[in-house]
Chain length 266, copies 6
């Protein structure tokens, strides 16, 4: 509404080709069979669209903050090797008003309608419509446009796979944004999974891992870990500043786990 | 409101003549006597208008998400063979502001006032007025215009049949949008109905159908199927990617049924 | 608010002289003494204004949806044979913004101030101020203007009778729109009244009427009919498409009665 | 807000000098000692301002709809014989936007600041700020301006008496509009008071009055009359259309009394 | 918002130098030790700023409507004899839009930043941000600006004392407007205090005062007087119109006390 | 919204280089081990970013009003000796509209993207998005922009440390503003801590400190002090105006402590 006065519609920050790659910069660690299942499902949906069976398919990856949704969506999109792949992120629309956002989104879809095989990643889709839980507030206009665009059958021979991500699944239900398929993306849940990630990093010896898992088990007990893979990787980085890497890792990860349900968590 | 700055009123996406045909692309499978009843009623209303008995008749097709409302409305409209038939969809108004939407709708009605026999399909009519349950929000201006247009008696000799569809019947009541006649469009409700659809597809052998029905019966028990025909057809498409077509169909349909009342359902 | 950009204030749809006549196209059937009482009261108010006793008189016809308010108001207005008679309907203001609506209404009143005897019919007055129960929403500006206009004493020698109609009497109370006089317009309430209407149509034999009344009595029992004369006339039209006219009439009227309190009703 | 586009600030309807006189067109009938008390108090406040003791005095006349507030305020203002007297009514601002309303009100006050003795009648002051109980809604901007203007000390030697009227005293409290003095204006409350008014009209013989009072006493019993003098006068006018003047008067007044607490009442 | 179209930012009513003096026109009557305490505290804060100990100090005078806040704030400001003293009142901003109000306030602060010693009186500070309890409503933009300005450290060598007044202390808490220091300003609370004010006026003999106090004690009993000094002074003015000055004073003051908690009160 | 008309985007008040220094003008008194811990943590985060381990790190300093958040954030930022350090304060955006605020913030981030090492201090971050608890209100547009900017990975080789401060941590949770790390900043909590601050000032002798602590202990008892270091310093300044410095200090600090939970407190 307010941005009405802005004249130019191009994003403040370029939508560079490396965006998709940067989204999986931290790699995909196969710390749980869920990860493999998600990627396999993704490949199946890609095929369903590629073979023309389903000309329009929308899939929702939903899970807690930092659980790896964007990385997984980007991975599936890149592996499709479709000629047209676009990552659509809220930050790309900073500084746009509602009209400009709608034009921006419409352009992405009409661009897709020109390519023979298409995949769009709508990252944090609730933020694309400017959702804020306080109020709640959101842009009805962008929402209406996005719903219209997502349900619009593409022209013949232009099949389209839409992969959306969200940590606010119930919000999408309230907004009546429908998806044909849904895939949950879970947090790191067990000490074993944590161990896989620690080992994968190459920063910890086996005994470090044993010690860390043991200490964390002590503090969280039977409740499970329940923290996003993103946060686990950050805690490792913080721990690297310390002499007692393992001790510091356990400390900051412990705080992160305790904070969950709080600000830093899902 | 926000789109105020847009100068052009033409829809972003052309209102092509094939729209009506594409709406029934998946065909009309006569999986239940309800389907025949709906189509017969539709023909009767077409006649009541055609003969000039009732110069203005509004009919509402209401039912759960994906139950086939749009396909049935399009079917009735096409079968009327009236010289003027228009499908009005929310996506056709993406990128329009409120004035433009009102002008767009007014033009459709005034166009109809020039033709001797007219049928308008107002698809997902609650979305035409930008309804969002959160808030709730909607466009009062478009609503007022649409109510005015729908209750405006057409000029003599220009009878008009309005067929609206909605999955939000109570919303229309709250908005005091009145219809002269109403037709419910039900979900696929019994295993037998499911069997008809499976057989119609030509993808499953009789024993496949038996097995599928049996397994689904087991999981849903006496509660009935309760899923839209649209979702059933999609599940078949997904199942086709799999070697064990029947098994996969049962699996994804099961998830769809379980999700009902949830995001993917009615 | 939204229509701000529109430049022209003339109504999208012409305010033709036939509007009043079309409002009573279905005739006035004297199916109950209430109808005669309403018309007599109307004539008295016309006289009170005509004789100059009361230079400004506002009357409200209120009753359920389809009970015949507009037809009766139009009838009273036409019978007055005043030189200036205007029917003001919400549809006449479709496509106007708030300023334009206020200008439109102000012009109607100032036009009236030039004629020696005036009657204005403000049809569905709650819609003239864009009332929607969801919210609720309405145009404060148009409301303030209309209240001001309705309470403004006309110039000497320009007596003015205002007849408003509404199916939302309590809304008008909440909006503090005051009327000097009020007349209730009831639904068709008894089987006997229904019989009068059926006979008046010339479509049913006496035994048809007996049968219909009997069958309806059975289904509604002692609760009374409770449906608008408008709906009764429509049901007759629908019944005409059927071989068993009477049976079909009973069927669709039965649905209409059952729906009452629902969408199609008052 | 919406009227923003309007360029001219002059009222749609001229603020004629006869406005004050027309406000007391029905005369002031001394049907109760309250009436005399109100007028005396008014004269005292006029003097307090005239003598310069109090350079700024605001008085509120509050009472039910139709109780005679405007007529009494106009009477007090006219009797002051101050050189500058202005009646400010909501209808005078129909078609103005908020800026224009503020400019209009500011101009009235600055005009007053030029005259040696001033009285302003702010009629239905809650409507001057566009108050609607639904919401509630009102114009914060006009309210802020009016509060500022009402509390602004006039220049030396320009004493100002402000007489406001309202039927929404609690609203003014909620809006924190303060008045130095307040005067209640009651309804016609007793049969005796009613008799005074009937006799004053010269339309009824003594026995008519007896009969009317008797019949009304019967229906309202000990509850008192409780109707505005304005409504009583209107009922007389309606009764004049009838042969049995007294009977008809009792009938329509009875309806008015019954309606009280309803739409037509206070 | 609405005033957007206004081009000029200068106040409708000039900010004359006599404003401060007029604010204490009624004098400061030392009717209670609280008054002396308030003035002494004020002098201390003036010194704290004058000596440069505290370069930015904000003080809030809070108390009931009419208790004398503005007069006391003006008194403290004038006694400081600082080279730059400004009284900022809501009425000075009538007819300004939000931008203009922010510019107006910003200019006052930047003007202060040029003078070696500064005191600003922000009178009825909740009205400066257009606070209305119904809603509640207020101008977020002006609020944000005022908070920013009030917490902005002035340039070195430009100490600033801010004295705000309010009768809505809890509102300021809700708006998170913080003040370093707070001073309560009480109503006239005892008969003795009332006697001081009566005597100070020179209008009443000692026996008049005795009689008045006695009669008021009778009616209010042990509850105390509880009325603002402003109202007491007005009641005296009204009483002067009457022969029985004392009797009339007791009468109108009694009404004022009874009204308290009502419209005329704090 | 309202400031739309403003043409220039530069801040009303210059963003001078001394801003950071002025924020720690009162010094950092090491009155508790918490202070040292906060500063050490700050240094660690600075290193984590400096070494490139974490290219984007956001840290939240949260604590009661006046607890020293801004001073500590400024201290950490200055000690980093990064080439690009910016303090972003609400007052810097007074007089900007939403677009301008977004542009202002975007420019700060894009400026940072040009420097090899960056630290931004987002002071009172909830006010940067115009948060007001009444409503609550806030700028969705600025919020969306700020969230986008804060989560946008800077270009390679441009690591960025964001230090935000707030006294409204739960608000940030509600607004879903996430931070990687969080540091609480406590109030002065014990008499011992108070003693350190008093001694640090050089204004009180040891026996003064003993006396003050003793008297305060008496009044607050076991509940602890619970007042911000900022308020303690102000109370000392006020006390300096008095002969009995210690007595006055105890008095005003006592009021401040009592007020806590009230307006002047956290
Ligand atoms: N198995 C995995 N799945 C997903 N991400 C992984 C996995 N293993 C490692 N990662 C890394 O973890 C990070 C996950 O962060 P990502 O931004 O994808 O989470 P997110 O759920 O999208 O977070 P947000 O809720 O903030 O959008 C990425 O850096 C990714 O490379
Ligand atoms: N008997 C049937 N009735 C309706 N549709 C059928 C039937 N048999 C098959 N179909 C196919 O099922 C699909 C129904 O989808 P359709 O879009 O009409 O559902 P809908 O109720 O309008 O969904 P939505 O709630 O999303 O608007 C169409 O592809 C249609 O061709
Ligand atoms: N006695 C009657 N009173 C009113 N209308 C009658 C009567 N007899 C027949 N009619 C016909 O019935 C119809 C009544 O419809 P009308 O539009 O007046 O109802 P309404 O109450 O105004 O409906 P709505 O609530 O939709 O405005 C008209 O076509 C009218 O000619
Ligand atoms: N004693 C009286 N006091 C007031 N009005 C009287 C009295 N006697 C007769 N009248 C007449 O009664 C009418 C009162 O109407 P008026 O418009 O003043 O009422 P009101 O209270 O202002 O109504 P509203 O609430 O609609 O503003 C006037 O026509 C007036 O001339
Ligand atoms: N001791 C006193 N303190 C304050 N005002 C006094 C005192 N004695 C006399 N007065 C007079 O009483 C009046 C107080 O009115 P003032 O406008 O200051 O009250 P206020 O509290 O600011 O009212 P409001 O709530 O309307 O802003 C002034 O005219 C002042 O000169
Ligand atoms: N240990 C300390 N920590 C922080 N500030 C200190 C400390 N010792 C002294 N100070 C001084 O105390 C003051 C703290 O005020 P500051 O503005 O930083 O508080 P704040 O928590 O940011 O307040 P606000 O909630 O108003 O933003 C500064 O003047 C600072 O120099
Ligand atoms: Mg993500
Ligand atoms: Mg549909
Ligand atoms: Mg009608
Ligand atoms: Mg009046
Ligand atoms: Mg004051
Ligand atoms: Mg701070």
């Amino acid at each position: 509404d307010f941005l009405r006065a802005l004249e130019e519609v191009h994003p403040l920050f370029g939508v560079s080709e490396e965006d998709l790659e940067r989204a999986v910069e931290g790699g995909i660690i196969h710390f749980s069979p869920h990860i493999d299942k998600i990627l396999k499902n993704g490949r199946d949906f890609v095929n369903q669209v590629k073979t023309g069976t389903t000309p329009l398919l929308s899939v929702l990856l939903h899970g807690p903050h930092g659980s790896g949704k964007t990385a997984l969506a980007a991975k599936i999109a890149m592996e499709s090797q479709f000629p047209f792949i676009r990552l659509v992120r809220p930050v790309d629309m900073v500084g746009m008003n509602e009209i400009q956002k709608i034009q921006h989104l419409s352009k992405i879809f009409t661009d897709a309608y020109k390519s023979p095989l298409n995949v769009l990643v709508l990252d944090n889709i609730e933020l694309l419509v400017d959702w804020v839980p306080v109020g709640p507030r959101f842009s009805s206009a962008v929402l209406a446009a996005l719903k219209g665009l997502m349900e619009n059958k593409p022209p013949k021979g232009r099949p389209l796979l839409i992969i959306a991500t969200t940590s606010e699944r119930t919000v999408l239900q309230q907004l009546q944004m429908y998806f044909k398929m849904q895939i949950p993306v879970p947090n790191v849940q067990t000490q074993a999974e944590l161990g896989v990630i620690m080992r994968d990093s190459g920063l910890f010896s086996d005994s470090d891992v044993q010690r860390a898992i043991g200490e964390i088990e002590e503090s969280v007990g039977g409740r499970g870990v329940g923290v996003g893979v993103q946060q686990v990787l950050l805690c490792m980085q913080t721990a690297m500043q310390d002499q007692d890497r393992t001790g510091r890792f356990v400390e900051v990860l412990g705080e992160a786990i305790a904070d969950n349900g709080g600000m830093g968590g899902g």
